[in-house]
């Protein structure tokens, strides 16, 4: 019995090539434009709030940053992994129970500073025993 799943049908992601007869130089999925808008809005608010890069140059930089963000987003989002599922999996990672015996990690910038031998001489004095108040 030869059979085929419907994956090929649902895997097609429509792309917007531009207005009829006037193709734009890039080919992006429709979803990518949505992602670009989602990045653009907070970046624009951030720019206005912080007040850096005034003028047209600032808007260009915000637009380019949003393009970068959209490209990153579209790397992890696709027909197999819708955006909602990616977010849910991220939240699931946050909520997963952790191992109780987490390894203790020590970071040392310079190996010369690693203490390899420690000898401590302690003189333990007899502690006064608390007694009834006099």
């Amino acid at each position: 019995m030869r059979s085929r799943s419907d994956d090929d049908l649902y895997a097609v992601e429509n792309r917007y090539l531009g207005p009829p007869g006037r193709p734009v130089p890039w080919q992006a999925r429709y979803r990518a434009y949505g992602a670009w808008v989602c990045w653009l809005l907070p970046l624009a608010v951030l720019r206005q709030t912080v007040g850096v890069l005034p003028g047209l140059l600032g808007w260009v930089v915000v637009g380019v940053l949003a393009v970068g963000g959209a490209r990153l987003t579209m790397r992890v989002v696709g027909p197999e992994r819708p955006a909602g599922a990616v977010v849910r999996m991220f939240l699931a990672e946050l909520a997963a129970p952790r191992s109780r015996q987490a390894p203790v990690r020590t970071f040392v910038a310079d190996p010369r500073h690693v203490q390899v031998h420690l000898q401590v001489h302690l003189q333990v004095a007899a502690r006064p025993v608390p007694g009834p108040p006099r």
Binding site: M1, D6, E80, M89, R98
Partner: protein, 842 residues
């Protein structure tokens, strides 16, 4: 008088009032309340809420916060060595059964159970008639323990397929509020009973649909429901050897605690596996589990080119479990969704071609082809064209994270290039999906397909072979389960053919069967061994004192003396004259027959030969104290004809030295449990050699003697190795044909070519006269005949794969089933047997 301070009790509600009594002075009455104590109140603890979604079980219904599911055990189906039309019919019936569950969420769970070794050992010990223990060898008790250890080396043995059918979805809004109120006012148990009552008719309908369909599904009993919950909540851990009893199938919310805390699951952020730690048989065990999702699927052809896609990882050494959530979509809804997707693809094509004059990319071409196919499917009413959506996950366990990931890579390699297997983040949530009642973790990796495509998964396909009766001899290639074989159980008498080319492991299998049957059943086994490879079986320590090796060519003088081959009557019958006369008559007849056979053909045909031989035997006597040489001496005193016979017999008797003389260990047909008759050199001597012919006839007589003397009192078996070497001589051919066609004798016959065996049995069309048959590696030219031995009709042979191709691997036909197996003699308690058989199949 000083007052002794009394410590204030820590329990707040209790009052303490110091009182003075005349006799005892001032004492404390710490527990003297002013008003009667309130007893029997509910404990001041919070109500138990399981971490699982499961809230209770009634019968085969599992109540969870996500809804109520009815669970069923799906009947296993054989897949291996079945004709394609039967497999197609199975897949079609499976699709038909799923079509009747349209609109419901289904939860497939595939899990594994280890070998029921303890149960097998108990039954085996009950019916076995083992040989007495030999000092210095493995005792029977140690043998049983070793066999159980061997059976449990594989963490998986029996595949189990469960199907959960959604009976009621999750309650939301007012429904959930009503349920909460009902639980608060009437109790959880009453609420569940009410739900059961409401759903009763629905559940009965589903029961009937599943029982009557190709699924053959039966409602899950309490013990198996417990097993499913254990396997799910301790995902990836080895199975417990002893599960708690499941006295009834009613679980309340508090009972869920039994499985809720079975194992501790943990995962580091974005770790590739989830760690499951729990106690198994008294030891703390941790397993790392990779949960993989089925990704995009290409064209598959089952059974033509591919395996059913839910059985691909079945032969991995670890138990890979499945959890699949799927739903068969109502026809109109599926049609709407498909048309929408097809229109979207068509719009993209127009955008490329009409709006911009560009060539469509290859992915879009495939989408257009799929849209075309879908439109065709929508116009048919076949259940195979129904659409479903679902998520298929696999849990792959490993002792370490590295091992689990390596196994995942192996699984991915096996599915390539037709099916993608994906590992994603959120491993913990994905693993929780395996627990009945838990919600779907993510909608990622959603698969949409036709029921035709779902049916090609055939999750219930597994190896069905054997009846778990007898010594453990074989191991199923797919599941790794140790298989028992008792040639006398449910099989009647008759031959068991073992066919394979050189190095296929036929002799190894025959030797293993013989030794294990002698060891366990006290069987009387006679092996005809032309190659000498089985001779060392007599050195197996556990068989000590019950074996004998007899080399026809090189036997010491007197061992085959025909006078000693016929036993005297046993002691209780010693006074019966008839018994003695009968034994003496048989002895005389055997001596005459043997000596006549030794004569050259020209001399043997004389009319006076037999009367002279009979007279000579009469002169010598009939008891066991004589030998064939005395008969020759007697012939020399019987005139010229006698002298001529004696002169002809003398050189032949000298050539076959075992026939004359005296032997320290006289032969007895009933003494040795295992007799290995080595016929080395007989075949090379030629069929017309009188000595060869005589020895072959004697071997035939010996075998019959052992079989018939023990008939009815003990199991007897004759093993003939390389049967074509015997069929070269008339006596050998007579012997083999007689044994194979004898309905009372159990024989195991090995041959290089199936035609050697088929020529020995009457041609009865496609019907095969044996219950069991083994076919190993064979030459391509013998494939059709070999498959015919397995009961495969010639017109079906082209559809089936060739027989096994590794040494020691066979296709085993046992009754209606046929599966690939391999001979397994692993374990330290079988070291002696392995050494006797040369270490392994060669």
């Amino acid at each position: 008088m000083s007052l002794v301070p009394v410590q204030r009790p820590t329990l707040a509600p209790l009052r303490r009032t110091p009182t003075v009594t005349p006799d005892l002075g001032l004492v404390a009455e710490p527990f003297a309340p002013r008003r009667p104590a309130r007893t029997g109140a509910d404990p001041a603890v919070r109500e138990y809420t399981p971490r699982l979604a499961l809230r209770g079980i009634s019968g085969h219904l599992a109540h969870a916060t996500t809804g109520t599911t009815a669970w069923y055990a799906v009947a296993p189906r054989a897949w291996s060595m079945r004709p394609d039309d039967e497999r197609d019919a199975l897949m079609g019936a499976l699709a038909g059964a799923l079509a009747r569950l349209q609109g419901r969420w289904l939860h497939w769970r595939v899990t594994w159970r280890p070998h029921a070794a303890a149960e097998w050992a108990r039954r085996h010990d009950a019916w076995a008639r083992p040989l007495p223990d030999v000092p210095g060898a493995v005792s029977w008790d140690a043998h049983l323990v070793g066999e159980q250890r061997r059976a449990l080396t594989s963490p998986k043995a029996v595949k189990e397929v469960f199907l959960g059918v959604e009976v009621r979805g999750p309650r939301r809004g007012l429904g959930a509020l009503g349920d909460a109120l009902a639980r608060r006012l009437g109790g959880a148990r009453a609420a569940d009973r009410r739900v059961d009552g409401e759903l009763g008719a629905d559940v009965r309908d589903i029961d009937a649909v599943l029982a009557s369909s190709a699924l053959g599904a039966a409602p899950l009993p309490a013990a198996r429901m417990l097993h499913l919950l254990y396997r799910s909540c301790a995902l990836g851990l080895p199975a417990q050897s002893v599960l708690p009893a499941a006295p009834h199938g009613e679980w309340e919310r508090e009972d869920v605690a039994a499985v809720d805390g079975l194992a501790r699951w943990s995962a580091d952020p974005y770790a590739p596996t989830v760690a499951v730690t729990g106690v198994v048989d008294g030891a703390l065990v941790t397993r790392h589990v990779v949960v993989a999702s089925m990704g995009r699927m290409g064209d598959i052809d089952v059974p033509g080119e591919d395996l059913p896609w839910m059985t691909v990882p079945d032969d991995l050494p670890v138990p890979v479990e499945w959890s699949a959530r799927m739903r068969v979509l109502p026809r109109d809804r599926a049609a709407r969704g498909l048309r929408q997707a097809a229109d979207r693809v068509e719009a993209q094509r127009r955008h490329y071609e009409a709006d911009h004059g560009r060539q469509v990319p290859s992915a879009l071409v495939r989408g257009l082809e799929a849209a075309e196919q879908v439109r065709g499917d929508l116009e048919t009413d076949s259940p195979l064209a129904l659409r479903c959506e679902g998520w298929w996950r696999m849990a792959i366990p490993g002792r370490t994270e590295r091992e689990a990931l390596e196994l995942f890579d192996e699984v991915r390699r096996r599915y390539a290039p037709k099916i993608a297997v994906e590992r994603s983040e959120a491993q913990y949530r994905l693993a929780r999906e395996f627990v009945p009642g838990e919600p779907l973790a993510t909608t990622a990796f959603r698969r949409r397909m036709s029921l035709r495509h779902v049916a090609t998964a055939v999750p219930q396909a597994t190896d069905l072979i054997g009846d778990d009766h007898g010594p453990l001899l074989l191991r199923a290639r797919t599941s790794g389960r140790l298989l028992a074989w008792d040639p006398w159980h449910d099989a009647g008498a008759g031959p068991t053919p073992v066919v394979g080319g050189p190095g296929a492991g036929k002799t190894f299998l025959l030797g293993a069967v013989a030794a294990q049957l002698v060891r366990s059943c006290g069987a009387f086994v006679t092996l005809l061994d032309p190659s000498g490879a089985l001779g060392r079986l007599v050195d197996v320590p556990e068989l000590g004192g019950h074996t004998r090796r007899l080399s026809l060519r090189d036997a010491p003088p007197g061992v085959l003396n025909p006078f000693t081959l016929v036993d005297d009557p046993p002691e209780p019958a010693a006074t019966a004259e008839d018994a003695w006369r009968h034994a003496a008559g048989r002895r005389a007849a055997l001596v005459v027959a043997v000596l006549a056979e030794l004569l050259p053909a020209a001399v043997r045909s004389g009319a006076q030969v037999r009367p002279l031989l009979v007279q000579a035997v009469e002169r010598v006597g009939h008891d066991r104290a004589h030998d064939a040489g005395e008969v020759v001496d007697a012939l020399q005193h019987m005139g010229a004809e006698g002298e001529r016979l004696a002169a002809a017999l003398a050189p032949a008797l000298a050539a076959a030295g075992a026939l004359s003389g005296r032997c320290d260990q006289p032969w007895s047909a009933t003494a040795d449990r295992l007799l290995v008759v080595s016929t080395t050199g007989l075949a090379e001597s030629g069929a017309d050699d009188p000595v060869t012919s005589t020895l072959a006839r004697l071997a035939a007589w010996l075998v019959r003697q052992r079989v018939h003397v023990r008939e009815g009192s003990a199991p007897t078996l004759v093993g003939i190795d390389d049967v074509h070497r015997f069929t070269a001589t008339p006596a050998g051919r007579t012997l083999v044909t007689g044994l194979v066609r004898d309905g009372r004798t159990r024989t195991v016959v090995t041959a290089r070519q199936a035609s050697d065996l088929l020529s020995l049995v009457p041609d009865d069309g496609d019907a095969i006269p044996w219950h069991d048959a083994f076919v190993g590696r064979t030459e391509p030219g013998n494939r059709a005949d070999a498959l015919r031995l397995l009961g495969v009709a010639p017109h079906e042979a082209q559809q089936l794969p060739g027989p096994a191709d590794a040494p020691g691997e066979f296709h085993w036909r046992s009754g209606p089933h046929c599966e690939p197996v391999r001979v397994d003699l692993s374990g330290p308690h079988l070291a002696g047997l392995r050494a006797a058989l040369g270490g392994g199949p060669r």
